[in-house]
């Protein structure tokens, strides 16, 4: 926690993006999280991604629940819309926001407690419903805000700060998301922005439900020897299966990989996600294979990172429900309240 505000002064050569903003214009007020918290790096990655995509901040809706993670939307995109909701209920609020205004970029930030414990039911259903949003879990395996109890994603055998081991099996959110039908699933690490920023960009531009599980160490309660969510452990045990580079439609595609191992995924807005598969046999379009791979490596104590599954042609909730194309706030009263006659007509159609 810091009381010294970040000054407005910035690097004299700070790049200005296509809509005339610098990265600093996407920041929020200074974080009140513990110094060194991984969550602040995730916020910084979101800031970098949005700035590089030149997206207008006022076109964002940031929704969160309760917890350290859920405080973070305050610390990025201060000129956007935000809703810090009830514990575990971010998915409901996000669903409502997205249904009401389909033109907003919706970012949900949650934590392992907010998603894997109290909000597990809500999480499962927002995945199923394919809400067009980017759902980020700042996953540190601990309840930091209540002084470091094991959370539901903490690995069995991983120890607390005092040394006692966790006795329960962990919930793996990536596996759940794959199983229930998310059309974009990735895992990353707060300490690796090179990997995280392109994933956030792709997740934002993905049409449908994009899920990124970000291992984000808790420096105060879960960054010790014996923890499997510490900076050191994750660095030693992470296995990157895909390296992604994100290019906007007008970008010159500069990164070259060995042809046999790379693949270009076309995104709905015309942008390109160039994937470099470190394991040639890994197929990012094969949901079952991805699930198996993640589970298998997990059993061996490894943390698989990178983009794990993507279906660029997936449909989202609006398509499934065939909703109106425009945001509700742009509709007139006559369209929103078509009147008694219209209601009767609908009722009659069910008789």
């Amino acid at each position: 926690m810091t009381f010294v505000a970040k000054p407005r002064v910035h690097h004299p050569k700070l790049p200005i993006n296509e809509i005339g903003l610098t990265r600093r214009d996407y920041e929020g007020p200074v974080s009140t999280l513990c110094a060194g918290c991984g969550h602040d790096s995730v916020s910084a990655a979101i800031v970098a991604a949005c700035a590089e995509l030149s997206l207008p901040p006022h076109k964002f809706a940031k929704i969160s629940g309760i917890g350290c993670s859920s405080k973070t939307p305050s610390y990025f995109l201060s000129k956007s819309h935000g809703f810090n909701s009830v514990h575990g209920r971010m998915p409901s609020v996000a669903t409502g926001a997205n249904l009401a205004n389909r033109e907003l970029y919706c970012i949900g930030v949650s934590g392992d407690g907010d998603t894997a414990s109290i909000g597990l039911g809500q999480f499962a259903h927002i995945v199923r419903r394919r809400i067009n949003m980017l759902y980020i879990v700042d996953n540190n395996g601990t309840y930091g805000l209540t002084k470091g109890q094991f959370s539901a994603t903490n690995d069995k055998g991983s120890t607390s700060k005092k040394g006692s081991p966790n006795l329960y099996e962990p919930i793996d959110l990536v596996s759940m998301a794959l199983q229930i039908g998310a059309s974009f699933v990735a895992r990353s690490f707060s300490g690796d922005k090179k990997q995280l920023v392109p994933l956030i960009k792709a997740g934002l531009m993905h049409k449908g439900f994009a899920f990124i599980d970000v291992i984000s160490p808790c420096v105060a309660f879960n960054n010790h020897q014996g923890s499997t969510k510490s900076y050191e452990y994750v660095r030693d045990h992470s296995e990157t299966v895909t390296v992604s580079d994100y290019f906007q439609p007008h970008d010159e595609i500069t990164v070259d990989y060995d042809p046999g191992s790379s693949e270009d995924v076309k995104m709905p807005d015309g942008s390109t996600l160039r994937l470099h598969k470190l394991d040639r046999d890994f197929d990012v379009h094969d949901r079952v294979n991805a699930l198996n791979y993640v589970q298998k490596r997990q059993a061996e104590g490894e943390v698989v990172t990178g983009l794990l599954y993507v279906d660029p042609d997936a449909s989202d909730c609006h398509e499934i429900l065939d909703t109106v194309q425009r945001p509700l706030n742009e509709l007139g009263e006559a369209e929103l309240c078509p009147g008694n006659a219209a209601l009767h007509a609908i009722n009659d159609s069910f008789r």
């Binding site: 407005r8 004299p12 200074v30 060194g36 918290c37 910084a44 707060s190 660095r235």
Partner: protein, 594 residues
């Protein structure tokens, strides 16, 4: 790149741009903090210790520190360092208790100082507390040298000058005023000094050899000589139309003085372009704001006279052309211009001039008539003769004289004690002192102040032009001084990185407002500079590189635009970053700062 050795005294010294640029290496941020704390006397003493003439320099310094100020790179205008120095001088209390003690029992060694300018005075200041018997020889009736004779009173009030000159003389200098030394040979033969220091400045103003020059002798004055005769009260008027030739600070002083002494009109005519004039920016501004036109690109061609009575000067018209990055002047095609003049003040430069030093004394001179000196010791080829100030390396300014004096005083001391002038010189050093006071508490104002540079008030123009003794700049008062002091970025409070504590969490990278910090794979400097979050294009500024970290990467910090806000240390969970004040040990005899 190899890991940076922060214990090399020069590494962090370079980060303190102002102090590094200052010839005397005055600890600028430290005295600015003292001013912010209203500790004017201490601020003054810190200056006095380092540059010897804070009150004088706070008005007249050439300010190499200001263009170097980091604020120029991060925003736009530098901190008004020079004016803050004056705030310390104007508001100081009684400094007598801080003065070094001069032993009554002398050490038996006698040192002669020739010329009573800033260089000699500063040498006297350094040597007296060591017990030397110091004799000062000066051709003029009072001490101060060019500070008295060439800087007009409207820039430097006589009281300010005399206070600081007398403070040194009162330490026990044995003065010999009105005593011009005309033969070094006789001086060395007749007097039995253990060492001789020559601080006679660059006393010869240049003249122009142009058609008509000899006929108009009565109407042409050499700028520095004329200023001197004004300073000593021999000249109190100048009539008619005056042309000042030259574009340096002397030219600016000449034109402003002429304006005050009754000239009908004053015009400055410069051979070169406005931008490349030698005069400091602010001196040009001051002259122009007093209604004095500066005419550029006009080399003089001929003096026009009628039977020895000056009529005016014919000037050629040229224009600057850039060739291989250098300015060259070619005829502009316009016809020559004639400008009327009754008097010419010639301020086109000055030279070293030591006709009184015979060339067979073992003191060797180069082809520019400068003595050949050892750069580190300022010793001439005659081991007991030392030089400093303008007399040593040609015309510079007061702050260089102070810097030379410290160097020469060490040499003279070592020489008189029979020690080796190089091997026994005290080394440079650096101390790093953590500024952390507690959680979120630093012992300096770490928060960045975005204020623009404050303007200094001037006396009303009419009043200023009516009397040569009225000081034009009023200086900052305490309140303005306090505000300006907050603009200082505290560049001496260094970001110190402890590699073994770093967990590579990126907190410092994310919080740094200036994008100074990057964690990346190591490479050669050129590649590394291009690879940083904000590419480090300013190669004048160092990269701070750590050893290899856990992930095999290194921490690289570009020192260029760091605002020393301390947020990296504030956000670091393991105290791998700390803000530590760097205090440099600049070798100096009996330094108060030690």
């Amino acid at each position: 790149m190899k890991a940076t050795n922060i214990f090399d005294p020069n590494y962090f010294h370079k980060v303190v741009d102002c102090q590094w640029a200052c010839p005397a290496h005055t600890p600028v941020p430290e005295y600015i903090r003292l001013i912010a704390q209203e500790r004017y006397t201490e601020a003054y003493m810190l200056n006095w210790d380092s540059n010897v003439f804070p009150g004088i320099l706070g008005r007249t310094c050439d300010r190499p520190c200001e263009p170097a100020c980091r604020r120029v790179r991060t925003e736009e205008k530098p901190v008004a360092i020079c004016r803050l120095k004056r705030v310390a001088a104007d508001n100081k209390g009684d400094v007598s208790a801080y003065m070094p003690k001069v032993p009554t029992r002398k050490n038996g060694k006698r040192v002669a100082l020739i010329g009573a300018g800033p260089a000699s005075l500063a040498v006297a200041r350094d040597l007296l507390p060591q017990g030397y018997e110091v004799h000062l020889f000066e051709k003029d009736p009072a001490g101060g040298g060019m500070m008295r004779s060439q800087i007009p009173a409207f820039r430097l009030p006589i009281e300010v000058l005399e206070e600081e000159v007398d403070r040194i003389l009162d330490m026990g200098v044995i003065t010999h005023f009105n005593h011009e030394i005309t033969s070094m040979k006789a001086f060395l033969d007749d007097e039995d000094f253990d060492a001789v220091f020559v601080g006679t400045g660059a006393p010869r103003g240049r003249d122009l050899d142009l058609p008509g020059r000899d006929a108009v002798n009565d109407h042409v004055s050499i700028g520095i000589d004329w200023l001197s005769s004004v300073a000593f009260g021999h000249t109190s008027r100048i009539d008619g139309k005056v042309i000042v030739m030259g574009g340096g600070n002397t030219a600016m002083d000449c034109c402003r003085t002429a304006k005050r002494l009754g000239a009908e009109s004053v015009t400055v005519v410069v051979r070169s372009a406005f931008e490349v004039m030698k005069a400091s920016e602010w001196e040009k501004e001051d002259a122009m704001s007093e209604g004095i036109p500066i005419v550029n690109n006009r080399p003089p061609k001929e003096f026009v006279h009628e039977n020895g009575r000056l009529k005016g000067v014919i000037f050629e018209c040229v224009k600057p052309v850039e060739e291989n990055g250098r300015l060259k002047y070619v005829p502009s095609g316009e016809p020559d211009v004639f400008m009327e003049a009754d008097h010419i003040l010639m301020a086109i430069g000055q030279d070293n001039h030591c006709p009184w030093i015979e060339r067979d004394l073992g003191i060797e001179f180069d082809k520019w008539d400068c003595p050949i000196l050892d750069e580190d010791t300022l010793q001439s080829s005659n081991p007991k003769v030392f030089f400093g100030g303008d007399a040593a390396l040609g015309p510079e300014n007061i702050i260089w004289a102070s810097a030379h004096a410290h160097k020469a005083a060490i040499s003279i001391h070592l020489f008189c004690q029979g020690r080796d002038l190089k091997a026994d010189r005290p080394p440079e050093g650096v101390n790093l002192i953590s500024q952390k006071m507690g959680v979120h508490e630093w012992s300096y104002d770490s928060q960045h102040d975005p204020s623009a540079r404050y303007l200094v008030p001037h006396v009303e123009r009419k009043v200023a032009l009516a009397d040569i003794k009225v000081e034009v700049e009023l200086g900052f008062d305490r309140a303005l001084g306090a505000k300006e002091a907050q603009r200082c970025l505290n560049c001496d409070v260094q970001t110190v990185f402890a590699q073994k504590l770093c967990i590579e969490c990126d907190a410092c990278v994310d919080i740094c407002p200036m994008d100074c910090i990057t964690f990346t794979e190591n490479a050669e400097e050129g590649e590394l500079r291009a690879r940083l979050t904000a590419p480090a294009g300013n190669v004048e500024q160092a990269l701070y590189v750590s050893g290899e970290l856990g992930t095999g990467r290194v921490m690289v910090k570009d020192e260029d635009v760091c605002v020393h806000c301390g947020l990296c240390a504030e956000r670091c969970p393991t105290n791998a970053w700390d803000m530590q004040k760097s205090v440099f040990h600049i070798p100096q005899l009996g330094s108060y700062a030690e």
